[in-house]
Symmetry: C2
Subunit: 254 residues, 2 copies
DNA sequence: ACAAAAGTGTTTGCCTTACACCCATGC
DNA sequence: GCATGGGTGTAAGGCAAACACTTTTGT
Protein backbone atom coordinates (compact mmCIF):
# COMPACT_ATOMS: atom_id res chain seq x y z
CA UNK A 1 0.00 0.00 0.00
CA UNK A 2 1.46 3.32 -0.91
CA UNK A 3 1.79 6.11 1.57
CA UNK A 4 -1.14 8.11 0.30
CA UNK A 5 -3.45 5.14 0.74
CA UNK A 6 -2.06 4.53 4.19
CA UNK A 7 -2.75 8.13 5.10
CA UNK A 8 -6.29 7.91 3.87
CA UNK A 9 -6.88 4.76 5.86
CA UNK A 10 -5.37 6.37 8.93
CA UNK A 11 -7.53 9.46 8.67
CA UNK A 12 -10.61 7.35 8.15
CA UNK A 13 -9.79 5.45 11.31
CA UNK A 14 -9.16 8.65 13.24
CA UNK A 15 -12.49 10.04 12.06
CA UNK A 16 -14.21 6.93 13.28
CA UNK A 17 -12.48 6.20 16.55
CA UNK A 18 -11.24 9.53 17.84
CA UNK A 19 -12.70 12.74 19.14
CA UNK A 20 -13.08 15.14 16.26
CA UNK A 21 -11.31 18.45 16.17
CA UNK A 22 -9.08 17.68 19.11
CA UNK A 23 -5.43 16.73 19.10
CA UNK A 24 -2.53 16.37 21.47
CA UNK A 25 0.95 17.73 20.96
CA UNK A 26 3.87 16.61 23.07
CA UNK A 27 7.01 18.58 23.80
CA UNK A 28 9.47 15.91 24.89
CA UNK A 29 12.46 17.45 26.61
CA UNK A 30 15.73 15.63 27.01
CA UNK A 31 19.11 16.74 28.20
CA UNK A 32 22.33 15.86 26.49
CA UNK A 33 25.67 17.40 25.84
CA UNK A 34 24.78 20.19 28.25
CA UNK A 35 21.88 21.29 26.14
CA UNK A 36 18.16 21.05 26.51
CA UNK A 37 16.81 19.07 23.58
CA UNK A 38 13.38 18.54 22.10
CA UNK A 39 12.36 15.41 20.23
CA UNK A 40 11.14 16.29 16.75
CA UNK A 41 10.04 14.15 13.86
CA UNK A 42 10.49 14.46 10.14
CA UNK A 43 7.29 13.68 8.30
CA UNK A 44 7.28 10.98 5.71
CA UNK A 45 8.61 11.98 2.32
CA UNK A 46 9.16 15.59 3.35
CA UNK A 47 11.79 17.81 4.87
CA UNK A 48 9.33 19.16 7.38
CA UNK A 49 9.80 18.73 11.14
CA UNK A 50 7.18 18.77 13.83
CA UNK A 51 6.35 17.64 17.32
CA UNK A 52 5.01 14.18 18.08
CA UNK A 53 1.29 14.23 18.52
CA UNK A 54 -1.87 12.34 18.00
CA UNK A 55 -5.53 12.04 18.70
CA UNK A 56 -7.73 11.06 21.58
CA UNK A 57 -9.83 7.93 21.37
CA UNK A 58 -13.48 8.35 22.09
CA UNK A 59 -13.21 6.33 25.27
CA UNK A 60 -9.88 7.59 26.51
CA UNK A 61 -9.01 10.48 28.80
CA UNK A 62 -6.73 13.13 27.38
CA UNK A 63 -4.05 12.37 29.98
CA UNK A 64 -4.02 8.72 28.99
CA UNK A 65 -3.92 9.67 25.33
CA UNK A 66 -0.85 11.79 25.97
CA UNK A 67 0.82 8.92 27.81
CA UNK A 68 0.00 6.56 24.98
CA UNK A 69 1.44 8.89 22.36
CA UNK A 70 4.54 9.37 24.43
CA UNK A 71 4.99 5.65 24.84
CA UNK A 72 4.57 5.09 21.12
CA UNK A 73 7.29 7.63 20.45
CA UNK A 74 9.79 7.00 23.16
CA UNK A 75 9.11 3.49 24.37
CA UNK A 76 8.89 4.91 27.88
CA UNK A 77 6.01 4.89 30.28
CA UNK A 78 5.60 6.33 33.76
CA UNK A 79 7.21 9.54 32.72
CA UNK A 80 6.81 12.97 34.08
CA UNK A 81 4.12 14.26 31.81
CA UNK A 82 2.16 17.40 32.31
CA UNK A 83 -0.57 19.27 30.54
CA UNK A 84 0.51 22.88 30.21
CA UNK A 85 -1.80 24.72 27.81
CA UNK A 86 -4.56 24.25 25.31
CA UNK A 87 -4.08 25.93 21.99
CA UNK A 88 -7.34 27.06 20.50
CA UNK A 89 -6.60 30.03 18.30
CA UNK A 90 -9.03 30.50 15.48
CA UNK A 91 -6.24 30.17 12.95
CA UNK A 92 -3.28 28.32 14.33
CA UNK A 93 -1.56 27.78 11.00
CA UNK A 94 -2.16 27.80 7.31
CA UNK A 95 -4.07 24.60 6.63
CA UNK A 96 -3.63 24.65 2.90
CA UNK A 97 0.09 25.04 3.28
CA UNK A 98 0.30 22.16 5.74
CA UNK A 99 -1.84 19.87 3.59
CA UNK A 100 0.35 20.56 0.65
CA UNK A 101 3.61 20.12 2.52
CA UNK A 102 2.49 16.82 4.04
CA UNK A 103 0.70 15.48 0.97
CA UNK A 104 -2.47 15.07 2.92
CA UNK A 105 -5.53 13.71 1.17
CA UNK A 106 -8.39 15.96 0.16
CA UNK A 107 -9.87 17.27 3.43
CA UNK A 108 -13.36 17.33 1.96
CA UNK A 109 -13.50 13.56 2.34
CA UNK A 110 -13.11 13.85 6.11
CA UNK A 111 -15.51 14.33 8.97
CA UNK A 112 -12.88 16.46 10.61
CA UNK A 113 -13.85 20.10 11.18
CA UNK A 114 -11.68 22.69 9.51
CA UNK A 115 -10.04 23.57 12.74
CA UNK A 116 -8.23 21.69 15.49
CA UNK A 117 -7.84 22.53 19.15
CA UNK A 118 -4.70 21.02 20.57
CA UNK A 119 -3.82 20.18 24.14
CA UNK A 120 -0.13 20.64 24.87
CA UNK A 121 1.76 18.29 27.16
CA UNK A 122 5.39 18.34 28.03
CA UNK A 123 7.50 15.46 29.22
CA UNK A 124 10.91 15.24 30.78
CA UNK A 125 12.79 12.14 29.77
CA UNK A 126 16.15 10.56 30.25
CA UNK A 127 17.84 10.99 26.92
CA UNK A 128 19.71 7.72 27.26
CA UNK A 129 16.75 5.54 28.09
CA UNK A 130 14.73 6.67 25.14
CA UNK A 131 14.56 4.59 22.03
CA UNK A 132 12.38 6.67 19.76
CA UNK A 133 10.57 4.79 17.09
CA UNK A 134 9.12 6.03 13.89
CA UNK A 135 5.65 5.26 12.67
CA UNK A 136 4.26 5.11 9.18
CA UNK A 137 3.97 8.90 9.00
CA UNK A 138 7.51 9.55 10.13
CA UNK A 139 10.80 9.14 8.34
CA UNK A 140 13.19 10.17 11.09
CA UNK A 141 13.38 11.56 14.59
CA UNK A 142 15.99 13.89 15.98
CA UNK A 143 16.84 15.55 19.26
CA UNK A 144 17.22 19.23 18.52
CA UNK A 145 18.56 21.99 20.68
CA UNK A 146 15.59 23.87 22.08
CA UNK A 147 17.29 27.19 21.47
CA UNK A 148 18.00 26.40 17.89
CA UNK A 149 14.96 24.80 16.34
CA UNK A 150 14.21 25.14 12.65
CA UNK A 151 10.77 26.38 11.62
CA UNK A 152 8.45 23.55 12.58
CA UNK A 153 5.12 22.55 11.12
CA UNK A 154 1.83 23.92 12.42
CA UNK A 155 2.30 26.27 15.39
CA UNK A 156 4.80 23.93 16.95
CA UNK A 157 7.48 26.55 17.51
CA UNK A 158 5.00 28.50 19.58
CA UNK A 159 4.00 25.40 21.52
CA UNK A 160 7.64 24.70 22.39
CA UNK A 161 8.06 28.28 23.60
CA UNK A 162 5.10 28.02 25.92
CA UNK A 163 6.27 24.65 27.22
CA UNK A 164 9.72 26.03 27.94
CA UNK A 165 8.33 29.02 29.79
CA UNK A 166 6.13 26.74 31.89
CA UNK A 167 9.13 24.59 32.72
CA UNK A 168 11.12 27.64 33.78
CA UNK A 169 8.38 28.79 36.11
CA UNK A 170 7.93 25.34 37.59
CA UNK A 171 11.60 25.05 38.28
CA UNK A 172 11.24 27.69 40.97
CA UNK A 173 8.83 25.72 43.10
CA UNK A 174 9.18 22.11 42.02
CA UNK A 175 12.23 19.94 41.58
CA UNK A 176 13.31 19.09 38.07
CA UNK A 177 15.77 16.54 36.93
CA UNK A 178 14.49 13.16 37.98
CA UNK A 179 13.41 12.18 34.52
CA UNK A 180 15.88 14.29 32.62
CA UNK A 181 19.12 12.95 34.02
CA UNK A 182 20.42 9.41 34.25
CA UNK A 183 20.01 7.70 37.60
CA UNK A 184 23.47 8.72 38.72
CA UNK A 185 24.74 12.15 37.86
CA UNK A 186 27.29 14.65 39.03
CA UNK A 187 26.63 17.99 40.64
CA UNK A 188 28.02 19.88 37.64
CA UNK A 189 25.66 17.98 35.36
CA UNK A 190 22.70 18.93 37.51
CA UNK A 191 23.91 22.50 37.53
CA UNK A 192 24.20 22.57 33.73
CA UNK A 193 20.63 21.34 33.56
CA UNK A 194 19.38 24.15 35.77
CA UNK A 195 21.49 26.69 33.95
CA UNK A 196 20.17 25.49 30.63
CA UNK A 197 16.54 25.65 31.64
CA UNK A 198 16.89 28.98 33.40
CA UNK A 199 19.22 30.28 30.71
CA UNK A 200 21.58 31.94 33.14
CA UNK A 201 24.78 31.01 34.92
CA UNK A 202 24.71 29.85 38.52
CA UNK A 203 27.45 29.89 41.12
CA UNK A 204 28.70 26.34 41.72
CA UNK A 205 29.28 26.84 45.46
CA UNK A 206 25.83 28.26 46.06
CA UNK A 207 24.20 25.76 43.76
CA UNK A 208 25.75 22.81 45.51
CA UNK A 209 24.81 24.13 48.93
CA UNK A 210 21.24 24.87 47.94
CA UNK A 211 20.68 21.55 46.18
CA UNK A 212 22.05 19.50 49.02
CA UNK A 213 20.02 21.51 51.51
CA UNK A 214 16.82 20.65 49.66
CA UNK A 215 17.26 17.10 50.80
CA UNK A 216 16.21 15.43 47.58
CA UNK A 217 19.59 14.16 46.44
CA UNK A 218 22.07 11.78 48.01
CA UNK A 219 25.79 11.68 47.43
CA UNK A 220 27.20 8.27 46.63
CA UNK A 221 30.65 7.00 47.46
CA UNK A 222 31.36 6.44 43.81
CA UNK A 223 33.12 8.94 41.67
CA UNK A 224 33.19 9.19 37.96
CA UNK A 225 36.49 8.77 36.20
CA UNK A 226 37.43 9.56 32.72
CA UNK A 227 38.52 13.15 32.36
CA UNK A 228 41.80 14.86 32.85
CA UNK A 229 40.52 16.40 36.05
CA UNK A 230 39.35 15.71 39.53
CA UNK A 231 36.81 12.90 39.62
CA UNK A 232 33.40 14.23 40.50
CA UNK A 233 31.14 12.55 43.01
CA UNK A 234 28.01 10.87 41.79
CA UNK A 235 24.60 11.72 43.20
CA UNK A 236 21.18 10.30 42.82
CA UNK A 237 17.72 11.55 43.64
CA UNK A 238 15.94 10.27 46.69
CA UNK A 239 12.81 9.15 44.90
CA UNK A 240 10.50 9.42 47.91
CA UNK A 241 11.56 12.90 48.89
CA UNK A 242 11.60 14.02 45.28
CA UNK A 243 8.05 12.87 44.72
CA UNK A 244 6.94 14.49 47.92
CA UNK A 245 8.45 17.81 46.93
CA UNK A 246 6.87 17.46 43.49
CA UNK A 247 3.45 16.87 44.93
CA UNK A 248 3.59 19.59 47.52
CA UNK A 249 5.27 22.12 45.31
CA UNK A 250 7.02 23.11 48.46
CA UNK A 251 10.43 23.58 47.06
CA UNK A 252 11.79 27.03 46.50
CA UNK A 253 14.61 27.50 44.07
CA UNK A 254 15.41 31.08 43.20
CA UNK B 1 -42.17 28.98 23.14
CA UNK B 2 -41.81 26.69 26.11
CA UNK B 3 -38.48 25.95 27.68
CA UNK B 4 -38.05 22.52 26.20
CA UNK B 5 -38.49 23.90 22.69
CA UNK B 6 -36.05 26.68 23.47
CA UNK B 7 -33.52 24.16 24.63
CA UNK B 8 -33.93 22.09 21.50
CA UNK B 9 -33.48 25.15 19.33
CA UNK B 10 -30.43 26.16 21.31
CA UNK B 11 -28.80 22.78 21.00
CA UNK B 12 -29.54 22.68 17.30
CA UNK B 13 -27.83 26.03 16.94
CA UNK B 14 -24.85 24.89 19.00
CA UNK B 15 -24.52 21.78 16.87
CA UNK B 16 -24.51 23.89 13.76
CA UNK B 17 -22.36 26.84 14.77
CA UNK B 18 -20.03 25.58 17.46
CA UNK B 19 -17.15 23.17 17.73
CA UNK B 20 -18.47 19.79 18.72
CA UNK B 21 -17.44 18.10 21.93
CA UNK B 22 -15.72 21.14 23.35
CA UNK B 23 -16.96 23.50 26.02
CA UNK B 24 -15.69 26.26 28.24
CA UNK B 25 -16.28 26.58 31.96
CA UNK B 26 -15.58 29.77 33.83
CA UNK B 27 -14.75 30.10 37.49
CA UNK B 28 -15.52 33.73 38.23
CA UNK B 29 -13.99 34.81 41.50
CA UNK B 30 -15.19 37.86 43.37
CA UNK B 31 -14.38 39.18 46.80
CA UNK B 32 -16.99 40.45 49.18
CA UNK B 33 -17.62 40.49 52.88
CA UNK B 34 -14.08 39.24 53.40
CA UNK B 35 -14.77 36.07 51.56
CA UNK B 36 -13.74 34.72 48.23
CA UNK B 37 -16.85 34.10 46.19
CA UNK B 38 -17.62 32.19 43.03
CA UNK B 39 -20.41 33.10 40.65
CA UNK B 40 -22.76 30.17 40.20
CA UNK B 41 -26.01 29.82 38.29
CA UNK B 42 -29.20 27.95 38.99
CA UNK B 43 -30.42 26.14 35.93
CA UNK B 44 -33.88 26.86 34.68
CA UNK B 45 -36.67 25.05 36.48
CA UNK B 46 -34.26 23.15 38.70
CA UNK B 47 -32.53 23.46 42.02
CA UNK B 48 -29.21 22.58 40.46
CA UNK B 49 -26.28 24.96 40.50
CA UNK B 50 -23.35 25.10 38.15
CA UNK B 51 -20.63 27.28 36.72
CA UNK B 52 -21.25 29.62 33.81
CA UNK B 53 -20.03 28.10 30.61
CA UNK B 54 -20.65 27.82 26.95
CA UNK B 55 -19.39 26.71 23.60
CA UNK B 56 -16.85 27.90 21.09
CA UNK B 57 -18.00 29.16 17.73
CA UNK B 58 -16.38 27.54 14.73
CA UNK B 59 -14.62 30.76 13.83
CA UNK B 60 -13.68 31.93 17.29
CA UNK B 61 -10.60 31.34 19.39
CA UNK B 62 -11.12 29.69 22.75
CA UNK B 63 -9.80 32.76 24.57
CA UNK B 64 -12.29 34.97 22.81
CA UNK B 65 -15.06 32.51 23.55
CA UNK B 66 -14.21 32.64 27.23
CA UNK B 67 -14.27 36.44 27.15
CA UNK B 68 -17.59 36.41 25.38
CA UNK B 69 -19.13 34.03 27.90
CA UNK B 70 -17.79 36.13 30.73
CA UNK B 71 -19.18 39.29 29.22
CA UNK B 72 -22.57 37.67 28.73
CA UNK B 73 -22.60 36.70 32.38
CA UNK B 74 -21.06 39.67 34.09
CA UNK B 75 -21.43 42.56 31.70
CA UNK B 76 -17.70 43.11 32.07
CA UNK B 77 -15.00 43.02 29.46
CA UNK B 78 -11.25 43.48 29.70
CA UNK B 79 -11.08 41.32 32.73
CA UNK B 80 -8.28 39.28 34.07
CA UNK B 81 -9.09 35.96 32.50
CA UNK B 82 -6.84 32.99 32.35
CA UNK B 83 -6.96 29.51 31.00
CA UNK B 84 -5.86 27.14 33.75
CA UNK B 85 -6.61 23.56 32.77
CA UNK B 86 -8.39 21.41 30.25
CA UNK B 87 -10.60 18.72 31.65
CA UNK B 88 -10.68 15.68 29.44
CA UNK B 89 -11.39 12.71 31.65
CA UNK B 90 -13.12 9.87 29.91
CA UNK B 91 -16.07 10.13 32.26
CA UNK B 92 -16.32 13.53 33.85
CA UNK B 93 -19.81 13.06 35.23
CA UNK B 94 -22.88 10.92 34.89
CA UNK B 95 -24.48 12.10 31.67
CA UNK B 96 -27.80 10.42 32.21
CA UNK B 97 -28.11 11.99 35.62
CA UNK B 98 -27.31 15.44 34.25
CA UNK B 99 -29.72 15.11 31.35
CA UNK B 100 -32.44 14.13 33.71
CA UNK B 101 -31.74 16.86 36.22
CA UNK B 102 -31.66 19.55 33.54
CA UNK B 103 -34.56 18.22 31.47
CA UNK B 104 -32.36 18.03 28.43
CA UNK B 105 -33.85 16.78 25.18
CA UNK B 106 -33.09 13.32 23.87
CA UNK B 107 -29.35 13.28 23.13
CA UNK B 108 -29.85 10.94 20.18
CA UNK B 109 -31.14 13.88 18.16
CA UNK B 110 -27.85 15.68 18.48
CA UNK B 111 -24.62 15.66 16.51
CA UNK B 112 -22.83 16.09 19.79
CA UNK B 113 -20.48 13.25 20.75
CA UNK B 114 -21.22 11.48 23.99
CA UNK B 115 -18.37 13.18 25.73
CA UNK B 116 -17.23 16.75 26.23
CA UNK B 117 -13.78 18.13 26.83
CA UNK B 118 -13.91 21.38 28.72
CA UNK B 119 -11.39 24.18 28.92
CA UNK B 120 -11.36 25.87 32.30
CA UNK B 121 -10.82 29.61 32.66
CA UNK B 122 -10.82 31.63 35.79
CA UNK B 123 -11.56 35.32 36.11
CA UNK B 124 -11.02 37.81 38.89
CA UNK B 125 -13.69 40.47 38.99
CA UNK B 126 -14.70 43.42 41.06
CA UNK B 127 -17.76 42.22 42.86
CA UNK B 128 -19.34 45.66 42.84
CA UNK B 129 -18.94 46.34 39.15
CA UNK B 130 -20.56 43.12 38.11
CA UNK B 131 -24.16 43.03 37.05
CA UNK B 132 -24.73 39.39 36.32
CA UNK B 133 -27.50 38.60 33.91
CA UNK B 134 -29.39 35.42 33.42
CA UNK B 135 -30.04 33.81 30.09
CA UNK B 136 -32.83 31.56 28.98
CA UNK B 137 -31.24 28.54 30.63
CA UNK B 138 -30.75 30.22 33.97
CA UNK B 139 -33.17 31.14 36.67
CA UNK B 140 -30.88 32.83 39.13
CA UNK B 141 -27.26 33.62 39.84
CA UNK B 142 -25.58 33.79 43.19
CA UNK B 143 -22.17 34.56 44.62
CA UNK B 144 -21.27 31.65 46.83
CA UNK B 145 -18.46 31.30 49.29
CA UNK B 146 -15.75 29.25 47.61
CA UNK B 147 -15.18 27.25 50.78
CA UNK B 148 -18.79 26.39 51.14
CA UNK B 149 -20.18 25.40 47.78
CA UNK B 150 -23.05 22.98 47.46
CA UNK B 151 -22.64 19.99 45.16
CA UNK B 152 -22.56 21.51 41.70
CA UNK B 153 -23.53 20.00 38.38
CA UNK B 154 -21.07 18.14 36.16
CA UNK B 155 -17.56 18.10 37.62
CA UNK B 156 -17.79 21.73 38.55
CA UNK B 157 -16.72 21.30 42.16
CA UNK B 158 -13.52 19.75 40.91
CA UNK B 159 -13.02 22.55 38.41
CA UNK B 160 -13.36 25.15 41.16
CA UNK B 161 -10.81 23.30 43.27
CA UNK B 162 -8.26 23.29 40.48
CA UNK B 163 -8.90 26.96 39.77
CA UNK B 164 -8.42 27.87 43.41
CA UNK B 165 -5.20 25.95 43.63
CA UNK B 166 -3.91 27.68 40.51
CA UNK B 167 -4.79 31.05 41.99
CA UNK B 168 -2.95 30.21 45.19
CA UNK B 169 0.19 29.27 43.31
CA UNK B 170 0.03 32.36 41.13
CA UNK B 171 -0.29 34.57 44.15
CA UNK B 172 3.27 33.78 45.06
CA UNK B 173 4.79 35.16 41.92
CA UNK B 174 2.21 37.49 40.43
CA UNK B 175 0.21 40.27 41.99
CA UNK B 176 -3.46 39.65 42.62
CA UNK B 177 -6.13 42.11 43.50
CA UNK B 178 -6.40 44.54 40.64
CA UNK B 179 -9.60 43.07 39.33
CA UNK B 180 -10.87 41.70 42.58
CA UNK B 181 -10.96 44.87 44.64
CA UNK B 182 -12.61 48.21 43.94
CA UNK B 183 -10.34 50.93 42.62
CA UNK B 184 -9.71 52.30 46.07
CA UNK B 185 -9.26 49.93 48.93
CA UNK B 186 -7.75 49.82 52.37
CA UNK B 187 -4.76 47.83 53.48
CA UNK B 188 -6.86 45.57 55.72
CA UNK B 189 -9.12 44.80 52.77
CA UNK B 190 -6.15 43.79 50.65
CA UNK B 191 -4.86 41.73 53.52
CA UNK B 192 -8.20 39.93 53.89
CA UNK B 193 -8.06 39.11 50.20
CA UNK B 194 -4.63 37.57 50.50
CA UNK B 195 -5.58 35.75 53.66
CA UNK B 196 -8.67 34.39 52.01
CA UNK B 197 -6.90 33.10 48.94
CA UNK B 198 -3.99 31.66 50.89
CA UNK B 199 -6.28 30.44 53.62
CA UNK B 200 -3.99 31.48 56.44
CA UNK B 201 -3.64 34.54 58.68
CA UNK B 202 -1.02 37.15 57.94
CA UNK B 203 0.60 39.64 60.26
CA UNK B 204 -0.72 43.14 59.52
CA UNK B 205 2.59 44.90 60.15
CA UNK B 206 4.55 42.58 57.92
CA UNK B 207 1.87 42.52 55.29
CA UNK B 208 1.74 46.29 55.04
CA UNK B 209 5.51 46.55 54.82
CA UNK B 210 5.80 43.88 52.17
CA UNK B 211 2.97 45.19 50.03
CA UNK B 212 4.24 48.73 50.08
CA UNK B 213 7.75 47.52 49.29
CA UNK B 214 6.52 45.79 46.15
CA UNK B 215 5.87 49.21 44.68
CA UNK B 216 2.59 48.35 43.00
CA UNK B 217 0.27 50.29 45.30
CA UNK B 218 0.02 53.95 46.17
CA UNK B 219 -1.36 55.45 49.34
CA UNK B 220 -3.87 58.22 48.82
CA UNK B 221 -4.47 61.17 51.11
CA UNK B 222 -8.07 60.13 51.53
CA UNK B 223 -9.27 58.00 54.36
CA UNK B 224 -12.40 56.01 54.62
CA UNK B 225 -14.91 56.99 57.26
CA UNK B 226 -17.82 55.07 58.57
CA UNK B 227 -16.81 52.74 61.34
CA UNK B 228 -16.46 53.24 65.01
CA UNK B 229 -12.70 53.11 64.70
CA UNK B 230 -9.71 54.85 63.25
CA UNK B 231 -10.25 55.79 59.60
CA UNK B 232 -8.12 53.67 57.37
CA UNK B 233 -6.09 55.10 54.51
CA UNK B 234 -7.14 54.31 50.97
CA UNK B 235 -4.77 52.79 48.46
CA UNK B 236 -4.93 52.10 44.79
CA UNK B 237 -2.88 49.99 42.43
CA UNK B 238 -0.38 51.64 40.17
CA UNK B 239 -1.71 50.17 36.98
CA UNK B 240 1.52 50.41 35.02
CA UNK B 241 3.66 48.78 37.66
CA UNK B 242 0.99 46.20 38.37
CA UNK B 243 0.81 45.18 34.73
CA UNK B 244 4.55 45.04 34.48
CA UNK B 245 4.77 42.75 37.50
CA UNK B 246 2.00 40.62 36.06
CA UNK B 247 3.75 40.23 32.76
CA UNK B 248 7.17 39.54 34.18
CA UNK B 249 5.95 37.32 36.96
CA UNK B 250 8.74 38.92 38.90
CA UNK B 251 6.93 39.44 42.12
CA UNK B 252 7.63 37.20 45.07
CA UNK B 253 5.09 36.96 47.82
CA UNK B 254 5.73 34.26 50.35
C1' DA C 1 54.41 20.10 34.76
C1' DC C 2 50.41 21.67 33.03
C1' DA C 3 45.70 21.96 31.63
C1' DA C 4 41.05 21.09 32.78
C1' DA C 5 37.37 20.82 35.71
C1' DA C 6 35.75 19.72 40.61
C1' DG C 7 35.23 20.76 45.20
C1' DT C 8 34.59 23.72 49.01
C1' DG C 9 33.70 28.00 53.31
C1' DT C 10 32.97 32.63 54.86
C1' DT C 11 31.12 37.01 54.94
C1' DT C 12 27.62 40.34 53.99
C1' DG C 13 23.33 42.14 53.56
C1' DC C 14 18.62 41.63 52.97
C1' DC C 15 14.41 39.79 53.60
C1' DT C 16 11.25 37.39 56.73
C1' DT C 17 9.36 36.75 60.98
C1' DA C 18 7.87 37.52 65.50
C1' DC C 19 5.95 40.53 68.51
C1' DA C 20 2.54 44.74 71.41
C1' DC C 21 0.95 49.11 72.07
C1' DC C 22 -1.30 53.43 70.99
C1' DC C 23 -4.62 55.96 67.98
C1' DA C 24 -8.86 57.50 65.85
C1' DT C 25 -13.68 57.17 65.52
C1' DG C 26 -18.68 56.42 66.44
C1' DC C 27 -21.91 55.37 69.62
C1' DG D 1 -15.78 56.35 78.06
C1' DC D 2 -15.62 52.40 75.78
C1' DA D 3 -15.53 49.26 72.11
C1' DT D 4 -13.79 48.50 67.66
C1' DG D 5 -10.50 48.04 64.33
C1' DG D 6 -6.30 50.67 62.20
C1' DG D 7 -1.73 51.84 62.19
C1' DT D 8 3.04 51.34 63.14
C1' DG D 9 8.77 49.88 64.54
C1' DT D 10 12.38 46.96 66.04
C1' DA D 11 15.18 43.10 66.86
C1' DA D 12 16.72 38.43 65.53
C1' DG D 13 17.51 34.81 62.57
C1' DG D 14 17.75 32.56 58.24
C1' DC D 15 18.48 32.58 53.43
C1' DA D 16 20.75 34.15 49.27
C1' DA D 17 24.60 36.22 46.98
C1' DA D 18 29.25 37.33 46.27
C1' DC D 19 33.63 35.75 46.13
C1' DA D 20 38.93 32.51 44.97
C1' DC D 21 41.78 29.07 45.86
C1' DT D 22 43.14 24.22 46.23
C1' DT D 23 42.69 19.42 44.63
C1' DT D 24 42.58 15.74 41.45
C1' DT D 25 43.46 13.57 37.23
C1' DG D 26 45.12 12.55 32.47
C1' DT D 27 48.25 13.67 29.09
Amino acid sequence: MDYKKQLEAYFAEVDEKCLLGLSIDCVIFGFSNNQLKVLVLRWKLTNEWGLPGGFVYKNESVDVAAQRILKERTGLSELFLQQFHTFGEEVRYNRAEISQKLNWPDPSTRKWPNRTVSIGYFALVDFLKVTPSVDFQTDEYRWMDVENLPPLLFDHNHIVEVALKTLQVQLSWQPVGYNLLPEKFTMPELQRLYETILNRPLDPRNFSKKMRALGIIERLEEQRRGGAFKSPYLFRFNKEKYKKALKEGSLAFT
